[in-house]
């Protein structure tokens, strides 16, 4: 794993990316188990039940993304600040603590699964709160690691050159780490419980993570196509204003039905309806800067078309960045907007519709750009000047994007059945729920979701192969 050409911060980044990728595989595997259980309910019944598979599916998702986000920051920090990351030894030590803690949590999820209804379960087995199920002891571990990471970032940012990208990341990552604290308490009042639970989930996924993506996209545009820093950073500040301006109060769309007052209908509807706007802006920004830089290249001292070179220094990474711009807008923006108004959400809340949105949004907004960062790391680690696509890179991105889109469409159709049958017609009772699940369109939707899940997994295998082997491939310019 050690590479003499990388500085320590970038080396740590590759460690983070490696473990993130392993967890990404785990996420897909447990997702497949859960998808099979929808089609064949007896599969692993009372061995590895749906609740266990899904816990692992969504926890692996969150954790691999956090790992890849940390990795991305450790990767770009020396480039942006111009100095070695301060306190990198501590960062490396914390990495191993983080990995060990996650291994223990996962083993307990798989082999212990549930516990008695008392505090020991909350502390040592699981907290039973979707996305942040990790037991309390692990919460403290996560806080310690996150503080170490934030310290690395802040000390380096203050000592080195503090670019706009680094400034945004500093503000964003401290909020990201701090918000986790809102999920670390127990209450008997489930409305209060879910109120604060959303502070973690929503303010991560629809605010701080999105701003993180804006910063990474800015870094990618500068390093991959040589976009002008001043232009890129101006866009970044506009995006921060729009993302936080809509996303923070957009949290209201989670407060429609959990016992909270009616005024959240209006606040949630208004601000969450604005949430797609920055995503459109980010999409335009990436394509605009690409076109602008490529156009400048074409106008410069070329006499014939053939001598015009692509400005892209890393083709597979840039492909993933473009899919990020598109997927973020489509998955988070369009699929999110579908059901964000309270009049619609009353019927769609808690159906496969949410699941369709969740799949495309997490993939489009985050998985894509983080995979892109992994390609950037492969490029840097292997001293590649211009990195080209291989057959595997193209097949991997096609299968994964096609697979996730397919799952999203299948889940959306299944969601419609649920909305019409279980909700509108039957009023969300036990009987209504199962009538909806028995619908032909629902059942076929679940079949297609499984098929598309397998397609996604095949793409993942190719992606793994490509990331491991493309560094030595002679197609690249060195």
């Amino acid at each position: 794993m050690a590479s003499s050409t990388l500085n320590e911060s970038k080396q740590l980044a590759t460690w983070y990316f490696t473990f993130a990728f392993i967890l990404f595989g785990a996420q897909l595997l447990f997702g497949l188990v859960a998808a099979i259980q929808y089609v064949m309910p007896g599969f692993l019944f009372e061995i590895l039940d749906f609740s266990v598979a899904r816990t692992l599916h969504i926890n692996a998702l969150v954790v691999w993304m956090v790992f890849a986000m940390f990795g991305s920051v450790y990767w770009l920090l020396p480039d942006e600040t111009g100095i070695d990351t301060v306190g990198i030894k501590i960062g490396k030590l914390l990495y191993w603590i983080f990995v060990a803690a996650i291994a223990v949590v996962v083993l307990v999820y798989i082999f212990v699964q549930v516990g008695p209804a008392d505090e020991t379960t909350i502390w040592f087995i699981m907290e039973g709160r979707e996305y942040i199920e990790a037991p309390r002891w692990a919460d403290f571990g996560i806080v310690v690691v996150a503080l170490g990471f934030v310290a690395n970032l802040f000390l380096t940012g203050i000592k080195g050159k503090q670019t706009g990208i680094v400034t945004v990341l500093m503000a964003d990552m401290i909020a990201f780490a701090g918000l986790y604290l809102a999920g670390m308490f127990f209450t008997d009042n489930i409305s209060v419980d879910q109120y604060w639970w959303w502070w973690v989930i929503h303010l991560w996924v629809e605010a701080t993570w999105e701003v993180f993506v804006g910063a990474i996209a800015a870094y990618g545009l500068i390093t991959m196509i040589g976009a002008h820093r001043k232009v890129v950073e101006m866009w970044l500040w506009i995006e921060v204003a729009m993302l936080f301006g809509s996303g923070i109060l957009g949290m209201g769309h989670h407060y429609f039905w959990i016992g909270t007052p009616e005024y959240w209908w209006e606040i949630g509807a208004l601000f969450s309806a604005l949430e797609p706007l920055p995503l459109v802006a980010m999409f335009v920004h990436v394509l605009y800067d690409w076109g602008k830089t490529q156009g400048a290249e074409m106008n410069a001292e070329h006499t014939d078309e053939d001598s015009v070179r692509s400005v892209i220094q890393n083709k597979p990474a840039f492909t993933w960045f473009v899919f990020n711009a598109f997927g973020n807008f489509l998955g988070a923006g369009v699929w999110g907007f579908f059901h964000t108004l309270p009049q619609v959400n009353l019927y769609t809340h808690g159906t496969q519709f949410t699941s369709a949105h969740g799949h495309l949004a997490f993939f489009g907004a985050y998985a894509t750009i983080l995979i892109g960062m992994m390609y950037i790391a492969v490029q840097g680690k292997n001293n590649i000047k211009v990195m080209n696509n291989t057959k595997s890179s193209i097949w991997a991105v096609s299968l994964i994007v096609g697979g996730v889109m397919g799952m999203t469409v299948a889940l959306t159709i299944a969601g419609y059945v649920q909305v019409l049958v279980s909700r509108a017609q039957m009023g969300a009772t036990w009987a209504g729920y199962f009538d909806g699940q028995a619908g032909m369109w629902f059942a076929q939707g679940m079949d297609w979701r499984l098929i598309m899940g397998v397609v996604t997994f095949l793409g993942f295998l190719l992606l793994a192969k490509d990331l491991l082997t493309t560094g030595k491939n002679p197609v690249h310019e060195r």
């Binding site: 609740s51 009042n189 204003a241 429609f256 007052p261 959240w264 009023g427 009772t429």
Partner: protein
């Protein structure tokens, strides 16, 4: 410098971002204070005096709960009615009911309910929503689920099912055995009854149209 526009000035956008974020955050914090007061749990006194709380106190388990159309608000709201026996008693004290709810809420997390079911609509979509499960006609006196367990009351039927779910398969998709004890099951049913009394702004919609849940008759 003369032709430089503020619209292409990074400092301007940086400051705008800071102001917008700060303003949104302050508004959220302010609303959080108001919401926290509105969703704090009520007390036994409130219930006795007929004070409506969005989240009633734990002793709501001593009362009959129904889900009725409110003409003014335009959707169904939980209505707390006359006294009703819960596991044979309608005089659960604030401490006893609170302890039962505490056990049930802990149980709901310790057994990871939320990764199959939705609670207040949040969670996984592999099993029915539990928000108003207590009011589900299937668990009522004429309901198939109560009949299946052979228990005389709704709460005993639910507790029996929770302890031995795979003995009562209702569909091909079954609830697994989670090692829920008799005491934990009692707590979980109290938790479900309490949750059904939370004012969820009419979610889930149309629940009241189903026979048996309207006016609790």
């Amino acid at each position: 410098m003369a032709n430089r526009s503020v619209w292409s000035d990074n400092r301007f956008w940086q400051r705008s971002a800071a102001w917008v974020t700060g303003f949104a955050a302050i508004l959220l914090i302010w609303l959080t204070f108001d919401t926290s007061m509105q969703i704090s749990m009520g007390s036994d006194e409130d219930l006795k005096n007929g004070v409506t709380k969005r989240v009633p106190g734990p002793t709501v388990i001593n009362y009959k709960i129904t889900y009725e159309m409110d003409a003014k608000r335009g959707h169904e709201v939980p209505v707390i009615g006359e006294k009703e026996l819960f596991f044979g008693r309608d005089d659960w004290s604030e401490e006893e009911a609170g302890a039962l709810l505490h056990l049930g809420k802990l149980g709901s997390q310790a057994k990871n309910c939320m990764n199959c079911h939705t609670l207040l609509g949040n969670g996984a979509y592999y099993a029915p929503d539990l928000t108003k499960a207590w009011l589900d006609p299937a668990w009522g006196p004429e309901g198939s689920l109560q009949a299946m367990t052979g228990k005389p009351t709704k709460e005993e039927a639910m507790a029996e099912f929770l302890q031995h779910p795979s003995q009562y398969p209702t569909h091909e998709r079954m609830m697994p055995n989670l090692g829920i004890t008799a005491e934990e099951a009692k707590g979980l049913v109290a938790f479900l009854k309490h949750m059904s009394s939370i004012d969820t702004n009419g979610f889930p919609r149309n629940f009241g149209k189903i026979k048996g849940a309207v006016h609790g008759k």
